[in-house]
Amino acid sequence: MKHKKALALLLALVMALGLFTACGSSSSDGATADGKKNLKVFLFLNDHEAPIYKGMIQKFQEAHADTIGNIDVQVTTRDEYDTTLTGMMTAGDLPDVFYVGPSALSQYVENGYIEDLTPYLAKMGVSTDGLMQEILNSYRYDGESAGSGDVYALPKDASVFAYAYNKDLFDKEGIPYPDPQDPYTYDEFVEVCKKFTKDTDNDGAIDQWGAGFANAFMLYQFIWSNGASFTSDDYKTITIDTPEFKEALQKYVDLTLVHQITPTVEQDASLGVYQRWLAGQEAFYACGTWDVAAFMDPETFPFNWDLCLYPTLSTGKSYTWLGTVGYCMSAKSPNKDEAAELIYYLSTDPDGQREVSGITTGNSIQIPNIIDLAEGEFKDAVAAGTLKYPSNVDVIFDYMNGTDYCAGRFEELNYTPNSEWHTIFFDGLDRVKNGSISVDDYIAEVQPQMQESLNEAWDSIS
């Protein structure tokens, strides 16, 4: 009887205490009993990537078995990542290694969450010169602005949102392929697209188009190519009322309203422009570097295709946006040396890079971070046909490195504390695209809201 009571009391206590220990700090488990270091890693990875990256971390752990005890890898989805990380920050329980994007970098540094990697890289005696500098620079911060100064993260990947065309449709219509080094002007693009836009089964409804445009991802190219931008250079002022911006937006919506070479807003609502591209209904669509493996897979996209450049407006230069996410190290990590080593390994290990870029696997979900590898083995594998990639692979690198006819850049929202102003703009854009409001009226309507939101965003971190 006494025992039972004691047991019950114990159970009650355990349950009660369990509630606290579950939320308790775990930084104390930074080492195993025999003095080896433990690391915690928190990443988002898709199903393709997860086994590759987990394998890489496994290899790192085995190679450092004398110093590293256990590496705890937590993987989540892109959508869940920010929420979970915010929770970890609030609880003061950050993992040793996690992701940061260029947009959040300065805030993470200013609030003391992440550690400067520069001294650790120096201590390891390694160089970052072999990495793509455009991307690496987006992880520099000098205490004032992003882009220069010390390195706070190393890139996990660098992506380019290139343009693509359906070769089979070009063959069918007898139209010469676009030149991967000479982008169409707007007028040329419209003319080419008109040749594709038709009713192929004679049921009275258009079922094949020149192109399809997903607003939030494919308007930037027009804006930038016309020399305009969503914000001022200091990212504090919304500049969508400039003549250049208005002209670019007008030309963008004219593709749907006047030239009618894209599905209408209603048609887009029934079946998205991305699905229509996959179904072979559009001659042109976008292709991110992460899309390549899927587009090369006949199950997903049963057409021949290749990469090309977005059409140009007044600057004559074709633009698109770049993306990246990088590994950073918690400022409170008890094992910073080991964490820095893991970061350097994940970002630059040639074997790992060969695997994710598809040099060894044949399926590419990203381009290599290392310039030599990208320019050498990667392109060789494409040329040899062992890596499933379209032949105009240079389009990717041209956008990444910049040429006199094309360039890549980061979207303005990467440099603002949040992207609400961007959401406000795109939320109602279909009203312009379906002709229910003019470009001028729309801009007059949303610009004050966007500016107010941007002010609040900056104010929220001051």
């Binding site: 939320c23 915010t86 971190i461």
Partner: protein, 305 residues
């Protein structure tokens, strides 16, 4: 002396029992503190700050400024309006539920199968059926517009893409999803009404409509009241349906609800403080409306006793 000794032993036993009682109450109490009281207090404090999830919450105290800003936030009022419009579905669901429940409240063959069928939407995953209904509402290829085209030869509305029709779509979906629950609740209410009431009324010459109007409706009013309360509380918290079916929040935010906006502010715009204030304001609105409902129930809610 012996009496005293006995009393002392008794009280010691009572005391021990008391302690054990406390020990057993402790886990749920701690659970309440950790998972209810703490988050509420935390959210309230957060609502007084410019916390963005990254900065230090307490360093960014701004008093009631978030609440003040909310009252002048046009988008907040718009999404609150949308949320209230969706509640048109509550009476529609009740009326349909009661009619179907009355029809089912009799012994016919296959009644159990029929009842089960109506309840399937309730037990189905909300996300799964929402995706299903996205296809029902599809502009070109959807079931609804195909039927409309077959019947009238006209192209039906852009259900999820139009500022007006998206609300109609959401109401249709929510009524469909909730119908099974109303039917079950009304069925149990109907079965609690004694047969003699109807028999007595019939002897007095009451017709079918009168029986329904003066016996059935008043005597299921406790069920109606329960559904009104839970419907309103749930109605203010609608989120998943919209997130799945209209992930953008609809053209011009025409489908967005308060909780959807709250989510956007918290996790997309990283304005945790502002979102917390919105959560509190929403809770206050729900509290006031529920209180009014309880106050008003004496006027129309009848019980059999």
């Amino acid at each position: 002396m012996s009496n005293n000794g006995k009393r002392r032993r008794m009280s010691a036993a009572a005391l021990e029992e008391h302690r054990w009682g406390l020990a057993f109450v402790l886990p749920p109490f701690v659970g309440f503190l950790a998972f209810m009281a703490f988050p509420i207090v935390f959210a309230f404090i957060a609502s007084l700050t410019k916390w963005n999830g990254i900065n230090n919450m307490l360093d960014n105290f701004i008093g009631l400024a978030n609440y003040g800003k909310l009252l002048t936030d046009a988008k907040f009022w718009k999404v609150l309006g949308n949320t209230v419009i969706y509640m048109i579905g509550i009476p529609i669901g009740m009326i349909l539920g009661l009619i179907i429940a009355v029809g089912m409240n009799r012994k016919i063959r296959g009644i159990k199968v029929l009842r089960t069928l109506y309840y399937i939407p309730v037990i189905s995953s909300l996300v799964a059926v929402a995706i299903l209904w996205m296809w029902v509402f599809n502009y070109d290829y959807g079931l609804l517009n195909s039927i409309i085209k077959a019947l009238t030869g006209l192209h039906g509305p852009n259900w999820l893409g139009d500022e007006f029709w998206v609300k109609v779509s959401m109401i249709i979906f929510m009524v469909w999803k909730g119908l099974g629950t109303s039917i079950i609740l009304y069925l149990s209410g109907l079965q609690g009404i004694p047969r003699d009431y109807y028999e007595a009324a019939k002897i007095d010459g009451a017709t079918g409509w009168n029986l329904f109007r003066f016996i059935t409706i008043p005597l299921v009013s406790p069920v109606t009241f329960y559904m009104l309360i839970t419907g309103l509380i749930g109605g203010f918290q609608v989120f998943v349906e919209v997130l799945v079916m209209v992930p953008s929040g609809g053209l011009n935010n025409s489908a967005m609800t308060v909780v959807f906006y709250l989510y956007q502010k918290a996790f997309e715009s990283r304005q945790m403080g502002y979102a917390s204030a919105m959560a509190f304001l929403l809770a206050i609105i729900i509290f006031i409306i529920t209180a009014i409902n309880f106050k008003g129930q004496d006027r129309w809610v009848k019980t059999i006793d």
